[in-house]
């Protein structure tokens, strides 16, 4: 594993909803093939920040970005960027499992089929390998044609991860992927993330301190210091360091549970 390769550079990043600035002056380098967690109290803009990387915030009216988000040397907010292609490279797993109301098989092939034509055989092997990588294959291999909504919540979330893997992204964004799940399913998702980081760059937003400490190598702490002010990046460092020996008093207060 290449420890020091930087996949994403965030430079002077800020974000506006209408005229309200919610994030300000974020600068950080995100490592390739590692898990970076974004932590912070509710409403501090963690999800907004995450959705910056695949430009999903653009689905909302009146939003504006300042600064640069540079992925592999290219600013993704430049005018000539193909957003569809960008989202193909950067998969997203949502807070609540959101499989399509289609069969398991159709859920997996949805993404690949958007981007090019495949033979039936190729699709079959995409389905198998994606489900295997998401550690779901053994549980569903005999019922690929049942409706995905019949699966349990934890299985649905792993299906959503498999659906993302099927597109072969480079980066996977996860927005509190285990917050709606039971402890056993959470454990499975966390084990899965650990395996996936060998091949993917993962950014995870989480509410759960222990989870951030368990799964991530780097951690970023966002905080809105007073209401009405935009949130800023308080501290960004190795996860170990953040949780054992934070530089900033506010980080320490947050991770020891004094607020948030």
């Amino acid at each position: 594993m290449n420890d020091d390769k930087i996949k994403i550079k965030v430079r002077n990043y800020g974000f506006y909803y209408g005229t309200v600035k919610v994030l300000s002056d974020v600068n950080m380098d995100i490592q390739e093939n590692a898990i970076t967690s974004i932590i912070g109290p509710s409403g501090c803009g963690k999800t907004t920040f995450l959705r910056t990387f695949n430009r999903m915030n653009e689905l909302l009216p009146n939003t504006r970005v300042e600064g640069e988000i540079i992925i592999d040397g290219i600013d993704i907010y430049k005018d000539n960027i193909d957003v569809v292609d960008l989202r193909k490279r950067i998969g997203m797993v949502f807070q609540r499992p959101n499989p399509f109301p289609k069969t398991i098989y159709e859920n997996i092939i949805y993404g690949p089929r958007l981007h090019r034509k495949y033979t039936k055989k190729q699709l079959g092997s995409i389905v198998e390998s994606s489900l295997k990588r998401a550690a779901l294959w053994d549980e569903v291999k005999h019922k690929l044609n049942t409706n995905a909504l019949d699966l349990s919540g934890g299985q649905q979330q792993r299906l959503c991860i498999a659906r993302v893997l099927a597109v072969n992204p480079e980066i996977i964004l996860m927005d509190e992927p285990a917050s709606a799940l039971d402890p056993i399913s959470t454990q499975k998702i966390e084990d899965l993330m650990d395996e996936l980081k060998e091949n993917y760059t993962i950014i995870i937003v989480t509410h759960n301190m222990q989870q951030a400490a368990r799964v991530s190598q780097k951690a970023a702490f966002l905080l809105t210091e007073s209401t009405g002010e935009p949130a800023t990046l308080i501290e960004y460092d190795d996860t170990n360091k953040i949780f054992t020996n934070p530089r900033d008093k506010r980080t320490e207060d947050y991770i020891t549970g004094r607020f948030g």
């Binding site: 689905l59 569809v84 989202r87 193909k88 949502f94 959101n98 399509f100 289609k102 958007l114 659906r163």
Partner: protein
Amino acid sequence: MARLKTRLRDIKSFIIYRFVFLNGIISIIVLGLILAFLIANSIRFFLSYPILEFLTGQKWSPTVLEKFGFLPLLTGSLLVTFGAIVIAIPLGIGSAIYIGELAPRAVREILKPIIEVLATIPSVVIGFIGIKLLAPIIKDLFNLSIGLTALAGSVMLAFMSLPTIISISEDAINAVPNRYRHASVALGATKWETTYRTVIPSASSGIAAAVMLGLGRIVGETMTVLMITGNSPRIVFSWLQPVRTITATIAAEMGETVQGGLHYSSLFAIGLILFLITFLINFISDRFINKIRES
């Protein structure tokens, strides 16, 4: 004293319960009576006129030839209805997709009420528009001697059913949860791919129900077709010919029949068939609507 109060309350709830129950049951009884009325009045016709000749007869000439062939009316109704569906379905679903998915919020909020108001235009007014505006255009366009044709009926009926189809389809599209759209967009789908591959399939049973309800309106409509389809009960297979539908036949001829006569009861007989057709359509659309509610 307290006991009296509970007793009064019991009586009150008993009365309210009975009243609501009665209201519900009355509508069912009335529906049953309508059916019984249709059957009772048409039974004379079925007893005295050979049913095979009625169903396969190619001439509807109740007064001159005393022939009661149902086929010309059926083909008339089918031509007008089929034409209306062919026009209304793509237009209706297309508009619903535009309003529900693509239009900016401001446009949507103006368009939807306007379209719903269109549903309240009386059919006789639609008939006027058909006679005065549409029929001359059809006449000139296709070089016909008369513009009052099946096509005129189809176009105006399509126009009448559009508000129903658009409004209910749009509701179905709106009811598709945003998380499906987000999942699709995040996988790299464009707006159109998301609409086409996720939103429409998810809303399909609602859209189907909308089409069925629109169809119900088309099949049962009388006044407009009476005014603009030319009133000619002949078997034709062209939209550019005058036809006459089942509904228009009843409306046009009921006034000139002898009450209790064969002609009189024949109109009830075709009314009964029409009732069965619309009942079937509503029954099927209800199944679709129930399917949406379950999911």
